[in-house]
């Protein structure tokens, strides 16, 4: 579990217990930037594998 600095103290981050529809949407849909980065890294991995 990651930590955050809260009120000057290092505290455990709060787990997400039940995703809201808006949060689910963020987890389902990649952004353009993410897609571009994935394409770039997959190409690099393929090049290394060949």
């Amino acid at each position: 579990m990651p930590y955050v600095i809260r009120n000057g103290q290092l505290e455990k981050a709060k787990p997400v217990l039940k995703l809201t529809p808006e949060q689910q949407r963020v987890l389902r849909i990649s952004t353009k930037r993410q897609s571009a980065k994935l394409k770039e890294i997959k190409a690099k991995l393929e090049k290394e594998a060949s």
Binding site: V4, A13, Q23, V26, L27, S30, L45
Partner: protein, 170 residues
């Protein structure tokens, strides 16, 4: 061959590895966090991956990785527990890679996740920035905030999706 190398460390390598770092320049909170990271690594709850420059054989940082448990509503993913870049390399461009040292580590994390995805069907990389300065860096890289997921907006989880498209629509 890359001018840099990142690789996971075996439990037996941790002692020598941590001796390579001097954390005295880091803030008190960071040192406290680093203590917990080391303890978790020794308990094998996280895996430390070292990051080094091949040319000068200098370690420039490391990342601590695990798999989510209940962290994000039981949606599985690779969890970035901690990223450490030595102070002298922070916000600096690695000339050998033409990008920031932090981004070299982030690229590596996505590579690890993509390799894992082929084996165990995880589709997300998660992290929680320890402060707002690093949140900006992760946003710039491509991570997005999971809105209202933290105790306050400064503590929101961030996610990087590994699927190009929404599988529900495919």
């Amino acid at each position: 061959m890359h001018p840099y190398g990142l690789s996971p460390l075996d439990f037996s390598e941790l002692d020598n590895f941590f001796k390579e770092f001097d954390f005295s320049e880091d803030e008190a909170h960071t040192r406290e966090y680093l203590g917990m990271v080391q303890e978790s690594a020794y308990c094998q709850q996280i895996i430390i991956h070292e990051a080094s420059s091949i040319s000068d054989e200098d370690l420039f940082g490391f990342v601590a990785l695990s798999i989510t448990h209940e962290d994000v509503d039981n949606v599985p993913g690779l969890l970035v527990e901690f990223i450490y870049v030595k102070p002298k390399y922070r916000k600096k461009i690695a000339e050998f890679a033409d990008t920031q040292y932090s981004y070299i580590i982030l690229d590596y994390i996505i590579e690890v996740a993509l390799k894992l995805q082929k084996q165990v069907a995880i589709n997300h990389v998660y992290l929680v920035p320890v402060n707002e300065k690093v949140r900006a860096l992760y946003l710039d890289y491509g991570f997005v905030n999971i809105p209202s997921s933290g105790k306050n907006e400064n503590e929101d989880f961030m996610v990087f999706n590994l699927l190009d498209e929404d599988p529900v629509l495919m």
